[in-house]
Structures are given as structure tokens and as C-alpha cells.
């Protein structure tokens, strides 16, 4: 390097893990689309702001700051606000599986839980089993610890536990953990059937495999059905990631990790180094909101909004999507996953769609291994039924045109 280079080149060098890091392609797409209000967007992963209990949250801040402002604004323990942890433990406990508050670590959104799990469980090159497709943010969070992602196949009933022995062979007999979103999965909207839940925890136990259950959408079943958590079925071998993002609001960044005690303690040590603790005030506010049964009335109202939008999307897809396209029929959550006729590349098609003022996320980035280019994720969470019909009609035309070109 000559003097000239030396003077203009940066004085730092990125770590190997940082060199491998890149921004999220999806976030870039979503950002681009969000700057064009004329686009009807199915791209975002945002919950509907119509579900945010703004006044209740405002009142809770007021109460907490009036009553115990000094404590709410002070540093607090890394593990979290004790009454909230107790509430979470009680809510997740069943007759068969008692969860203790000591197993609960409050985090700044369950995304942080993924980062901490990667930190304490992944050595470079370790296999991590993920669904096909899976949540792209999980690939991003864990990817920085350089695991080898190994895919387990899915169908309409969710991941296939019968494939686990074969997948474990591909892992060389050991994996750091299996990562699943069993209920209303992001990106597919699929839900693991009860029989498969039973089979998954049995197979995982046989393989001595830790299961990470990412569970942000479970309470958003359109009909109010409550699915059994994997945690309750196998508390010594399951980590449960919970979130207030879809049941209260995401902007407050509040989630939690529930893990077997020794793992929870290690995660707490990692969290202490990472950011000391999650906002004391936010935790106290959330507890103030939920402690007296608020969710019992709030969730049905949110479900009603999402159920109507989902029904409108599915109905419009029936009408406007061309023959040869298929899609999931979720009964909760926020997403529909569409598979277009073979030969269509959803990433390539995006420009044409944006010209017609409709947006979506191409499916490719959701695959850890070989992507299916003819897939897309459609969110029904933030589009009203009227706009929904218009947007899906536009998208149907773009797909048909794309098909005609082939």
C-alpha cells in the first residue's frame, strides 16, 4: 500500500463475521415501496396499526411514571421486571409443565432472543436446522455466528418430523438446535398440526436436539383457537421466543425468551454484555397494560381485523390469480405464501409489479439452501379489504402477463 492509499483508506478492518454481513434485501424492498404511497403493498411484515392500543398504552405510561417514576427510569436487573416475568411464566404454564419466572428472560424484541441464542449456542460451522422456507430475520440474526444452515422440508401441515433422522444425518449427527415457527409461520402462514407437534418433540428427544420455538403469531388465530406450545410438551428441550410486537405493538421492542434454567442463565449473561437490560419503563408499562386481562378483549378485536383482511385476500386470489398458481390458506397470523407457475421468477417480476403499483416480497431470501424462485410472501396485515381486492387484481394481471412471456 503506498502513502496515498494509506491516507485515504480507513483505519479499521472489519472482522470476518462483519465482512460476511450484508443488509436485508427484503428491508431494502420494503423501504423502497414504503416511499411510494400509490403502491398497494403486501411486502411489509408490519402488524396493523389499527390494532395498537394507543390510549391504553398512554394511560399505562402515565400510571407507571406517576406512581413509581424513579424506579421506572433507573437501571434494573438484566433478567427483567419480576412481575412481568411471573405473568409470562404463569401464562405459559400448563398442568403438565410448570414454567418458573427464573426461566424467563426479557429481551428487546424476540429478534434479540435469536441473536443471543446464536451467541451462546453456535460455533462457526455448527449445523442449525431451519424450515424450508423460514424467517429471513432469523437467518440474518444467526448467520453472523456462521452456522451451516440445514433445511428440513415442510408441507401444508408444517415441517415434517419424519424427515428429522435424515436431516440429522446431513448434520453429521449433531445440530446446535432446530429453529421453527410452528404457528402461522413467517413466511408461509402454515401451522404445525397437533400430531406433528407430538411427533416433533418425540423425534427431537430421540435425537437429543434442542428445539427453538419462535412464537409471535400464535394468539392471532382468526377463530381464537389456542395451539399447544412446544414448550409445554417438552420444557427441558425447548426454547420459547415470545413477543409483544403482534399483540400490543412492535415499536416498543419487547419480547422474551423462556428456556431451561441453565440456558436461561447463560442467555442472561450474554444479554448483560449486549445491552445491560431491556427498558425498565417499557416492561413496567406492558405489565400495567396486560395485568388485569386487557388481552381478553383486545385480542378478539385484533383477530377480527386480520380475519377480514385475510378472507378478502384469499377470495381475491381465487378470482384474480391465474391457473397454476397455488397458495397457503392461513387461519391466523399475517402472511400468505404463493407459489407461481414454474418458470416465473418472482424477484425478476417485482419491477413489473411496482410499475402496476403493487408490491410483495419475492420468496428467494426465505430459503437457507436452494431457493424456489417462483414463490412470494404476501402480507394481509396492513391492507384494508377494499384495497386488497384492487391490489390482488393488479398482481394477478402482472403474474398472467409474466406467464404469457414464458
Amino acid at each position: 500500500m503506498d502513502t496515498q492509499d494509506k491516507e485515504t483508506s480507513p483505519v479499521w478492518q472489519f472482522s470476518a463475521r462483519a465482512q460476511a454481513l450484508s443488509g436485508s434485501a427484503i428491508r431494502d424492498i420494503v423501504k423502497k415501496i414504503s416511499q411510494r404511497p400509490e403502491v398497494i403493498s403486501f411486502a411489509g411484515g408490519l402488524p396493523s396499526p389499527a390494532t395498537f392500543p394507543i390510549d391504553t398504552i398512554r394511560a399505562a405510561f402515565d400510571t407507571v411514571l406517576s406512581r413509581e417514576g424513579k424506579a421506572a427510569l433507573q437501571y434494573s436487573p438484566t433478567d427483567g421486571y419480576a412481575p412481568l416475568r411471573t405473568w409470562i411464566a404463569d401464562t405459559l404454564s400448563t398442568n403438565g409443565a410448570r414454567i418458573t419466572p427464573e426461566q424467563v428472560l426479557m429481551v428487546s424484541g424476540s429478534q434479540q432472543g435469536l441473536d443471543l441464542l446464536g451467541k451462546v449456542l453456535i460455533n462457526e460451522g455448527d449445523p442449525v436446522i431451519v424450515e424450508t422456507p423460514t424467517y429471513v430475520g432469523a437467518l440474518h440474526a444467526m448467520g453472523i455466528y456462521a452456522p451451516r444452515f440445514v433445511s428440513i422440508p415442510m408441507d401444508e401441515e408444517g415441517l415434517n418430523p419424519a424427515a428429522l433422522p435424515e436431516v440429522m444425518k446431513r448434520c453429521g449427527g449433531r445440530a446446535s438446535f432446530l429453529y421453527t415457527i410452528p404457528t402461522f409461520q413467517n413466511p408461509t402462514g402454515r401451522t404445525l398440526s397437533h400430531a406433528r407437534r407430538v411427533a416433533l418433540v418425540e423425534q427431537a428427544a430421540r435425537q437429543r436436539l434442542l428445539v427453538v420455538d419462535d412464537d409471535p403469531y400464535r394468539l392471532l388465530d382468526h377463530a381464537g383457537t389456542t395451539y399447544q406450545t412446544l414448550l409445554s410438551m417438552s420444557p427441558a428441550a425447548v426454547v420459547h421466543l415470545g413477543s409483544f410486537s403482534k399483540i400490543l405493538a412492535p415499536g416498543i421492542r419487547l419480547g422474551y425468551v423462556v428456556a431451561p434454567l441453565a440456558l436461561a442463565q447463560k442467555l442472561e449473561q450474554a444479554k448483560q454484555g449486549a445491552d445491560l437490560h431491556t427498558s425498565t419503563l417499557t416492561q413496567m408499562m406492558a405489565y400495567e397494560v396486560i395485568k388485569d386481562g386487557f388481552l381478553d378483549t383486545h385480542l378478539p378485536a385484533s383477530r377480527k381485523i386480520y380475519a377480514a383482511q385475510c378472507a378478502a385476500m384469499l377470495q381475491a386470489m381465487e378470482q384474480h390469480f391465474p391457473r397454476g398458481a397455488t397458495w397457503t390458506k392461513p387461519t391466523g397470523g399475517m402472511f400468505v405464501w404463493a407459489t407461481l407457475p414454474a418458470g416465473i421468477d418472482a424477484a425478476q417480476m417485482l419491477d413489473a409489479a411496482l410499475k402496476e403499483n403493487v408490491g410483495y416480497v419475492p420468496g428467494g431470501p426465505f430459503f437457507a439452501e436452494a431457493p424456489s424462485p417462483n414463490t412470494m410472501r404476501l402480507s394481509f396485515a396492513t391492507v384494508t379489504p377494499e384495497k386488497m381486492r384492487e391490489g390482488i387484481a393488479r398482481l394477478g394481471k402482472v403474474i398472467a402477463a409474466s406467464q404469457a412471456v414464458k
Copy 2:
């Protein structure tokens, strides 16, 4: 491993970095002491709750949620709330060094900035230069990335830049960065003199060394003096960590990293994987509080509290600490650093002190390399002048007794 072991042993294995991780000894001490209200504690690193602007914060939440609740509760960009980033960039800009909002990344307390810097700049075994002693939380945050910490000596004027060439030799000619708290350092309360600031950025430039300037206490000068930031002296080779913890309140977890653009962008990618973004609502609230000059009246009030408590501590130490003990004379921040007569082990002495109902933090954990066992950190931030005199008198007796035993 026989079947018995297999059934009771956990199904996970910790990563190498997690195996090396442990809880903070200091946090354990502080936790233990905080459960005994009869103890006068100089141990905590907590700011005084008397400085928290509770009503102003409560009003700001109310305003933000009333005016733009939907935006405040929604997901938001990883880099942070634009008006707040602009405010920070403007505040840090000088005639000589213009800081742009694009260089500012909002984080969940500056502790998270340390974690992200470790993530993107440290490969295992890389040298990281730290002060002697240094902030124990930085050793914890960065330690998980397994650097080799190399100490640079300090005296009453702060770290000694003249030692840098020799220290760089010990690093093998290259270090990830030098980490410093130049103003009212934690744990010593020392401040880098202006001449040393100039010398540091010059020496660092010569050595092609990135400087990380952790700056939570600068605005807490008892007399209101404003020290020049290292950032303003060398914006292309300094990372600045800022915090709202000591000027508003720590429980909200809000801080920021200012870095050269390419480094700021990489830190943003790492933050996206780690927790998507810092609370939208908290950022909007903080901006609402500070945007119209609130700190101009708030900071003088905080300084007055800390100045009185610091003066009371120093005066009491003059009166009650035995001959042979020395200590720093900070003019701001929260901490005094005491060096006891040689032969006294402050860690061993802690039990005797707690019996006399007075607490402190032994100095050992603040050293990255060979610790000085006869040192202790005393915080004056949360003890009133009356209690201060009583607490220091008790501590003086314990030291004298400990000295008599030698």
C-alpha cells in the same frame, strides 16, 4: 456417557464464547448490597434518581402518543428516528468537523454500541487497547469476541499517549481499536487533559489506529465546562459513543454511536440482526424532551446535585481515610478511585466493610491485565451529603483496621 447421564444432561452444548462467559462480579456485589437498605452504598454505577425529569418524560410520552401514536408504536428503520439523529449530529458538529445524521446509529444504550463494535471489528485474538483501569462492562461486552486486551497506562491526566508506540509494539503493530473514556472516566473519575487529547489523536493517526471514545459523563462537569470531543478532533478515525443514561435517565435504554460512514453502515447491519431497531417510541419521546433546549436548564440542576455530593465525599475522605491512602479528585461524572496503602486487598476487605454497613466495589475487575488489589471505586452519585460523611467515616475505620492487621 451412559444412558442415565444422557437422560439428565442438557440437550444443548454452549458455544466456545459462551463457555468463556460469566456474570459480572460487580453486578453481583451491587445486587447483594442493594438488598440491604441499612448499607450506605458507594458501589452502584447508578445515576441519582433525583436528576430524572419524570414529569417532563411523562408529558413527552403523552404528546408523542397523542399526536403520532401509530408511528410511535410501529416498527421503524434500524438507524433510528431521523429528527433525533439530526439533533445529535448537529450537537456534535463543530466548525472543524461536520457530523452528518447518516453517521449516527441509535442504540439501546451505549453498552449495545460496545457489543456491535466488538461484533464488527474483533476477530478472536485481535488486540484491543484499553485504559488501566477501564470500564468493566466494556471488558464484558467486548470479551465475548475473544480479543487480547492490552493495557495502556494512565495517570492523573488520563491515558498516556506517549506510551502508545510501545503499546502498539506489544500488539504486534496492529490493534482493532483503542477504547477510552476520556472524560470523568469510569472507574477513576479522571479526565484526559486537552494536551493529551491532541497527542492521542496525533499518535493514533500515526499508528493507523481507530479510537473508540465512550462519552457518557462529559456533560456532567461540576462547573459546566465542556471538553472537546475526540470525534471533533479526528472524525475519520474516532467512534463516539453517546448516552442519554446520565443526562435523562438510564432505564429507557437510549444511546448512540457516531462513526465514519462506512463503519456506521456496517454497525447498522449488525444492529438489524441483533434487535431490528431501538424503541421507536422511546426515541420520539427523547426527541420531544430535548428538542427545545430542555437540557440547558436540566443539566445545571443535575450538576449541582453531583457537585455537592462529590465535594462531601472528597472532604470526608480527607478527614477519615488513613495516611497512605490516595484518591482521584474528579471535577465531574460519578466516581472517585481510591488507592489504599499497599498490602490491603480491597476485595478481601469488603466483608468487613459490609459488616460496618458500608459498600464499595473492589478495583480488581476493572483491570484487563495485572490488577491492583489495593484499589476501590466509590460512587458519589446516589448518596446524600449527610449519609456520605457517615459512610466514608465507616469506611475509613474499616481501612484503618485492615491496615492494623497487616
